[in-house]
Symmetry: C2
Subunit: 458 residues, 2 copies
């Protein structure tokens, strides 16, 4: 690795856009989750695609790792630099390039965050629905194949990225996809890049699908005696084809945390939070249908939040649940699990996880995007406490292996990064080696986000 | 190429399941479209995945081409064998393996046709929505990334294939995806295989997403003075977010052909055919909304087909339109164009195509899945008439280049095969070379459907 030569060349290319300050390296070596700091050797702040391409060509020539960085909110260490190298921070490539209301699409640079995009779209009657909670960058969300609360209605990043501009591992600039709504023209390179976690190239521009702001929005919250009742209601609603825009589970421990953090006074039992989008008539009809389903499973206090401020409070509570849970144990770090199972196995998976967490002695509230079969336990561990970390990893391990047994996945939306690498063989078998072959084909030098997602390269 | 040795080994493996009869070779060398016969050297009829894997290993060892075959309804010569080799006919792998109503998914073998699957699902309240018109096999539909009339509501094969079993070009059996509704676990190999036209392996099993049969279905037909009025109505409806299950354009020439073929008596002007799915209330509301939009664009005779038999007649007419158009010129072959453009450019693209066709002197009715921006001209040419074929190819060329200029694609749903290979560089630029690199990584010997989709291998 010719790091010295690479840094010299990058300094010439980027000038002020290359930082080696201790604080910058430290910041770009951290993650939101439980991983220790793994810092890059330098942080680049490119301003355009040409600079990214130049940067990658320099790193390729010198065998220096390249790790993309959006807002640092990934949960599996995707943007950390275990092999050092250059962190490419896209915060200076954060322009909304072109909104096309007639085609309901938008071209953005990768550093635009989802909230910034939706601010920009406010006057158009359109919005970008994918909502992982954190105000992540759109480049990062695409790379992680992010989803969140609205995926049950609007799909994940896989469904909402129409086209990309990518700098390949050899520093070439390519375009994948088109602005057509569908195409059968060859391999779906857009789909291959979405979820590749920066191991096949860096996303330098995205064309995203937009959706019309619904005429009416209705939100509701409903308490259940137990998780089984709540999850059974979800399963019924999914199987009925009820078009829910969001359907979120918070278990009793999550509700307790949220009450304390947000000053709410929900009863400390499992809750479902729902949102419906559509015409006034449709929202009313669907909510009534759900109310009937909930009642059949012991749902109580089914409460409509029709006023925007009530809805905002409800979803703010849900969005802040992660921080509310962290606040249960000041100074703790979180290990957040992320399994996703077929909907018919959801109740069983959630109940088994609850039992495992109770047996472990950890604090680990459960919440999730249950309409997709995806749920999280936020396992709190004392920073630096290896025993607790091991206990949490053991709980997560059991959840993952159970999900795989059920025909599910180790990660519904958080990705592989460093944290789930050990499950790729178990989940994919020989198909993981195929991923390795594709990686070697596109990145023979192995410079793009090394140590993540694919089998170790020889 | 050790064809003799390969055939001997295949004979041992497959016995009666290997055919070299003249009629079989001829049948598997044909296509529905204008291409001349390109026959394989033998036709294999495997009964299970192990036989497919054994077959591929033999072909890999001897450098013999392998071409998948479903029902032979592809329109770009995807299943023809320009380099000879073995046609793998999946008609004996046509079992519906497992229907899971609770999870709304189904596992099928690749030879199951979409109509056979929906027959099997009748009693479940579920259905598989992707409908390219022809009663194609699901393996073929996945390989072509097929879509059709319902994609505007239910998506294409890309959106409805959850997981696959695939025999790789080295004869290994892999599984891609899972039964979870979403996953962030590594590269989307399922998405990579869907639309790969058998160039990266053979699909031996599919897990498909099912949808609930709608409570109510409403269909409508509406006449317009001109194509511009019809397309403007479509654009308005799409931009309003009206949830149409189908919205199809037939131009005046298509309507004329359908009237003659199906004994209908629609006025010979452009028509839109629509279908809405939902609750009774939603179907009524959405249809009224569309009626108002249509009226604003000169739509007349907006007619509701509420009775099932009327709906069936309407969609039978649309589904048979291809054959109705062929019947306009007995003995003719068709060259069917397939561009897809951003919705804002749709009127312009259709009108320019109409003018081109008129100027060419060919018969070429236009119809299409206009809610996606996708439309077809069915250009009729006399079998063996090279001048007419060249004229038709010139019309298609102009349509493709115009679509690419508009940010669209050369093929919305028919795929690349032989017919669109020359447009891959124009559409994808350097990204086409990336497709070639991926192909070489998975199929270094180049045996899987050679001559299709990717750049020629050295």
């Amino acid at each position: 690795m010719g790091m010295t030569e690479a840094l010299s060349a990058l300094d010439t290319l980027l000038g002020q856009g290359l930082s080696r300050s201790k604080s910058d390296l430290d910041l770009h070596g951290r993650s939101e989750s439980h991983f220790p700091v793994m810092a890059p050797d330098a942080v680049a702040y490119p301003r355009n695609t040409q600079e990214v391409a130049g940067l990658v060509r320099i790193c390729a020539a010198h065998g220096v790792p390249v790790v993309g960085w959006g807002t640092g909110t990934s949960l599996e260490g995707q943007a950390q630099a275990p092999h050092g190298g250059i962190a490419v921070d896209f915060s200076r490539m954060s322009a909304v390039l072109e909104v096309s209301p007639d085609d309901m699409d938008v071209r953005v640079q990768p550093g635009v965050t989802r909230e910034a995009l939706n601010m920009e779209l406010r006057a158009t009657g359109l919005f970008f629905p994918v909502d992982p909670g954190a105000n992540a960058s759109l480049g990062g969300m695409a790379s992680t194949r992010a989803s969140g609360t609205t995926a049950v209605r609007y799909g994940t990043m896989r469904d909402n990225v129409l086209a990309l501009e990518v700098v390949t591992p050899t520093g070439e600039i390519i375009r994948t996809g088109s602005r057509a709504r569908k195409s059968s023209a060859g391999y779906d390179l857009t789909g291959l890049m979405v979820g590749a976690e920066g191991t096949l190239g860096l996303i330098t521009e995205l064309t995203l699908r937009l959706h019309g702001q619904p005429e009416a929005v209705g939100a509701a919250v409903c308490a259940f005696d137990d998780v089984a009742g709540a999850v059974s209601a979800v399963m019924d609603a999914v199987q009925m084809g009820l078009p829910m825009a969001r359907i979120e589970l918070m278990d009793a421990a999550s509700v307790r945390a949220a009450d304390a953090y947000a000053g709410m006074d929900l009863p400390e039992t499992p809750h479902l939070l729902l949102e419906f989008h559509g015409s006034e008539a449709a929202v009313t009809e669907h909510s009534e249908n759900f109310g009937a389903i909930a009642q059949g499973h012991g749902g109580a206090g089914f409460d409509w939040a029709t006023r925007p401020e009530e809805r905002r409070a409800l979803w703010a509570m849900r969005h802040n649940a992660y921080y509310a849970i962290l606040a249960l144990r000041p100074g703790a770090r979180a290990l957040v699990t992320d399994v996703c199972v077929p909907i018919s196995r959801l109740a069983e998976a959630v109940e088994a996880a609850s039992a495992d967490i109770a047996a472990s002695g950890l604090i680990g509230p459960i919440l999730g995007h249950v309409g997709d079969g995806n749920f999280h336990a936020v396992l709190l561990i004392e920073e630096g406490n290896e025993t607790e970390l091991e206990t949490a990893l053991a709980v997560s391990h059991t959840m993952v292996m159970r999900a795989l047994d059920m025909g599910g996945t180790a990660t519904g939306e958080h990705g592989i990064g460093l944290g789930k690498l050990d499950y790729m063989r178990a989940e994919h078998g020989a198909a993981w080696s195929v991923m390795g072959a594709l990686k070697r084909a596109m990145d023979p030098a192995g410079i793009m986000n090394p140590g993540k997602l694919v089998p170790p390269m020889n």
